[in-house]
């Protein structure tokens, strides 16, 4: 969270550094305990929860802005990030909340202030390893933490819709491209990978068939190690073969579940 003086500067001079009418909202998925988590920030002055978001600096591309915003919230570089939809309805941020956020600092704020304008938002979604993330608040938020995807609080503006669309996009993506590289630790068991798929798709997947399919893709390397301290047969550990993974990401060959 920033000081009042800094926030005033941001309100009144922000339009000199950022593109007006444009924002970026990030749907950040994390995976833990066989559950999908979502990273949310609590908006200052109104206490409403929202997607981590931000604006686009005049000297950075939209993709770079999304990466920066995510880096600032999570501490992570090289995040898997995908622009999935534009949210451009007229009324999406025309709510009392918009004014309340800035009026808490400056009651006489001009109606033409850039922060009170209509915002067209670029929706991005990201997949991260929850263990590697240090949730950090930003300029406009006083708290940043993980929420269970199945028990989200009411969200700012149309952010609930954005989350729904992001999940759809994620599932569509999962059916066509390998995913998991960013949500799991470096070494993992086949079951851990399968649980991830089951959680994202919301349905069980046959164990044997999943294993065969994943192995045939050729993006996994079986290690000599096995997971220890388990009360059952020790499973092999795998890791992604980054080179082949990239190949498959770029190819347009789908594989469906």
């Amino acid at each position: 969270m920033i000081s009042d003086a800094e926030f005033l500067e941001f309100i009144h001079k922000g339009h000199e550094h950022y593109l007006t009418h444009l924002s970026v909202d990030c749907v950040v998925f994390g995976f833990h305990d066989n559950q999908l988590k979502l990273l949310l920030t609590k908006v200052i002055n109104i206490g409403q929860w929202s997607l981590p978001g931000g604006f686009i600096r005049k000297e950075e591309s939209v993709d770079m802005a999304a990466k920066r915003i995510l880096r600032e919230r999570t501490g992570l570089e090289n995040i898997f990030l995908e622009q999935f939809k534009v949210f451009g309805s007229v009324e999406r941020n025309n709510t009392p909340d918009t004014k309340r956020i800035v009026q808490a600092i400056d009651k006489n704020i001009n109606e033409k202030n850039w922060l009170l304008q209509r915002m067209v938002s670029m929706g991005y979604y990201a997949l991260v390893d929850i263990e590697k993330v240090t949730p950090t608040s930003d300029t406009l938020s006083e708290e940043c933490r993980w929420w269970d995807l199945t028990a989200l609080p009411p969200l700012l503006f149309d952010h609930t819709d954005i989350v729904k669309d992001a999940l759809k996009a994620l599932r569509r993506h999962l059916a066509n491209k390998p995913i998991g590289f960013n949500l799991l630790p470096e070494k993992f068991t086949m079951t851990e990978l399968r649980r991830l798929y089951e959680t994202i798709l919301g349905r069980p997947i046959d164990r044997g068939n999943f294993e065969k399919k994943m192995l045939k893709l050729g993006i996994l390397e079986r290690l000599d190690e096995v997971k220890s301290n388990v009360t059952y047969k020790a499973p092999f550990l795998y890791r992604f073969n980054t080179a082949k993974y990239q190949e498959l990401l770029e190819a347009d060959t789908g594989f469906g579940f």
Copy 2:
């Protein structure tokens, strides 16, 4: 094409009516003679060809803006239109062309003029029946006509890349959803539909297998009529069953070729 006075008004007052830093570019595919065509507009003052595009009025959504722009260029309502990507690099419209377009009218134009700013463009693609279109120029163009997709002229800014990405998105879409509703006349033969698919995908498709697959989708109705005046066996005519077509569009079940 508009008068100099109108253009001056647009240059100097446009930012009051349109969202700054935002534009819409439309990749309009048409189908004729087993070839994909692209609708292009010739930019005033510089003679460069470009995608039909425009800006977003403050009182319309981004989707509505795209529809309006397309309606103005083609005369068509209810066009199949899909937002496929955002083009947001810093330098994409930072070229001498940008200045030349406006300086032809006003040599002393302010560098901070909204038209000279960095533009983030929302890429849309559309599929239309070429017979129903009346290409019409707009504010910033002096000509509007169809081009053969395989022989495009050099295009403004990054528009060549936008076209490439649109074609990729179209092919991806074609593999997952029924398409054709908007590119063919109401009644068509199975071969006409197949030619459309072959043209978009850029490769031949087995006749028998295509027919079986399309019919199994259940979105086609075979009519009692046949095509006449052909020098071979008269083929059946089909039309789309709009209701089932919509169902399939909304379902997430893919069908791949």
